[in-house]
């Protein structure tokens, strides 16, 4: 770990605020958290090395560049995104936050559990999420976010139609 300081409270607050935006379905604000070259990824499930897999060689569940992050949010806010209309209720719980510096960026890893309620059924998505954060004009931004699910298959969840 680098000796240069970081503000743990600010980093934690950022991750909690991100979770809050997702639970509130404020996706326009959520996507604005990403830098211009930001990426959002969900690694394939059932593999042991999800944190280091390369999405240009292995099939991911999500491997969005900045444009597709925006398109994903536009689509999800439409009534015609049927899998999320009416929208699921979700609750993102973020814990065990570890933080380290990598030159100008801050790398975080955190455990997550997301409860999703759809047609009165509760399902869970759990795993580890890695963020690369950067301070841009005094505010933290997401350079990359990769969710690695602790699942062997999407049974019974079926889809990942929400944002993790």
């Amino acid at each position: 770990m680098s000796a240069s300081p970081f503000d743990r409270e600010a980093v934690e607050d950022f991750l909690y605020a991100e979770a809050e935006l997702l639970d509130a379905w404020r996706l326009e604000q959520w996507q604005a958290l990403f830098t211009d070259d930001g990426r959002y990824e969900v690694a394939p499930v059932g593999m042991t090395d999800a944190e280091t897999l390369d999405p240009s060689r292995v099939l991911f569940l999500v491997a969005d560049d900045r444009t597709r992050i925006a398109q994903r949010c536009i689509r999800l806010m439409k009534k015609s995104a049927h899998a999320e209309y009416p929208r699921s209720r979700t609750r993102h719980v973020v814990a065990n936050i570890r933080i380290e510096r990598a030159q100008d960026d801050i790398l975080t890893s955190a455990n997550f559990i997301i409860y999703r309620v759809r047609r009165e059924e509760v399902m869970r998505y759990m795993g580890r999420v890695l963020h690369r954060l950067r301070s841009v004009d005094g505010a933290l931004r997401i350079v990359s976010k990769r969710a690695c699910l602790d699942l062997e298959s999407l049974k019974p969840q079926g889809t990942v139609s929400i944002i993790l």
């Binding site: 897999l53 292995v58 491997a63 049927h82 969840q157």
Partner: protein
């Protein structure tokens, strides 16, 4: 119910009461209990999934001697192996001693399989090698091979797509595939080096009868409505034009219940249709792939392989979609109202790294549990199942679109937006369920 079976009226030519054909009014209808009834679910297990050829896996999943994949097919746990000599096997994953599951890893490489219970050891060809006990068995205990692992009664391949059949008397795979063989060949022909399964296969389950996914997989009719949000995304990406309205093509039954639609739609394909969104760097690479196809397959076949998109069902439950990328899926009933789905992406074994990246990008945008379209398909299955199970007043689902008076149902043809391919599927379902077609005789 029995009145639907009146052969004199020439209105029904079916064998079960669950499919009704009315050629006068051009109506083809399916009893919705076929999607929810427990007896039908059990009968499917004993007929459809006992007598049809079922997809096991692709040869590329066993890259070397010693490779294995554990996979459930038709309710049976199998191990798909390549033995030391390179020969491929499909073995039941149960010890010949007391029935314990032997192979507990989903895939890998092994010299032998060792049962965790009493330590019996088997080769990847299924041969019993060791019982670990020195005493208590006659020297000729396994001379008749009674205690080797049991192999699936039939295992055959077509262009490295491997299928099993639990009926020893089944017709050969190549005959079973009928017209679907050429469609599978068109996909295999995409590369002289063969295809490979790309790492990162997907498995999910959802609420809904398995036949809802089958129908959905080659139902172009639902595209513009259910997937409007996907087409809006595509319009922005490809051309700014209305993509859904530019499609043209046909749908048809391919014999034995198989069927497909084939369309011309410019979405861009790594093999081999360039669009500006792929970037200028990719243009010469895709042109080279196209030129190789023309040289190897001739201009007409190459045009079809490269520029057309196909969604196919190999009866009963194998989806082979060759559109933005190649996607192979198998769907399995686990209850009348629940299905398990497995999805693989395939690509040329020798694909250029940039084209592979484009392929995966293309793929996950549409397909897959977090794509821009598949979650909405799953939503449609769940809504249909809900409607079936909870009192939709109409008892019949309609599959009449594009029906003609004299069509041969197993080889029905129509516009790609019609439902000819689905009528072929349901006609075969009806025949196999009733035993009117046993696909090679009944053995067990």
């Amino acid at each position: 119910m029995a009145t639907l079976l009146d052969p004199q009226a020439d209105r029904t030519e079916t064998h079960t009461p669950h499919v009704a054909v009315d050629r006068d009014r051009l109506r083809f209808r399916v009893d919705r209990r076929a999607y929810s009834d427990r007896d039908i679910f059990l009968r499917e297990r004993d007929t459809i999934f006992r007598r049809c050829w079922l997809y096991l896996g692709h040869g590329s999943e066993l890259p070397a001697p010693g490779s294995f994949v554990a996979r459930s097919v038709g309710g049976h746990d199998l191990i798909f192996t390549r033995d030391r000599g390179g020969e491929v096997h499909a073995l039941f994953n149960a010890c010949s001693h007391r029935g314990s599951t032997i192979c507990r890893e989903p895939a890998g490489k092994a010299r032998v399989f060792t049962c965790p219970y009493h330590g019996w050891v088997f080769g990847l060809d299924g041969r019993l090698k060791d019982t670990t006990a020195k005493a208590g068995y006659r020297a000729d205990f396994n001379d008749d091979r009674l205690y080797d692992l049991v192999a699936a009664p039939r295992l055959e391949s077509f262009r490295d797509f491997w299928f099993v059949n639990f009926n020893p008397a089944a017709i050969p795979l190549v005959d079973y595939l009928a017209g679907a063989g050429d469609y599978l060949a068109m996909i295999a022909d995409q590369s002289a080096a063969g295809l490979e399964v790309i790492e990162g296969s997907q498995a999910f389950s959802c609420y809904g009868n398995w036949k809802l996914l089958v129908e959905n997989s080659y139902d172009a009719y639902h595209g513009p409505s259910l997937h409007s949000s996907y087409f809006e995304f595509l319009d922005n990406r490809v051309s700014g034009t209305n993509m859904a309205a530019t499609q043209t093509g046909f749908g048809k039954g391919l014999g034995n219940g198989h069927g497909a639609f084939e369309i011309a739609l410019v979405t861009g394909r790594p093999v081999a249709q360039w669009i500006p969104a792929f970037g200028e760097d990719a243009k010469p690479k895709i042109a080279a792939v196209h030129a190789e196809l023309v040289a190897r397959l001739g201009a007409a076949r190459a045009e079809r392989v490269a520029e057309r998109q196909r969604n196919m069902i190999i009866f009963p439950n194998l989806v082979v979609n060759d559109n933005l990328a190649i996607s192979v899926r198998s769907v399995w009933p686990t209850a009348p109202d629940r299905m398990d789905v497995r999805v693989w992406a395939l690509g040329p074994a020798d694909e250029d790294a940039m084209l592979r990246r484009i392929r995966l990008d293309n793929y996950l945008t549409f397909v897959g549990p977090a794509g821009f379209a598949t979650p909405d398909d799953i939503e449609a299955f769940e809504l249909c199942q809900r409607g079936n199970d909870h009192g939709a007043p109409g008892r019949w689902s309609d599959i009449s679109k594009g029906m003609t008076r004299d069509e041969d149902l197993l080889h029905a043809e129509g516009d790609f937006m019609d439902e000819a391919q689905m009528r072929s599927w349901w006609t075969q379902w009806d025949r196999v369920m009733a035993g009117a077609d046993t696909l090679g005789g009944v053995a067990g």
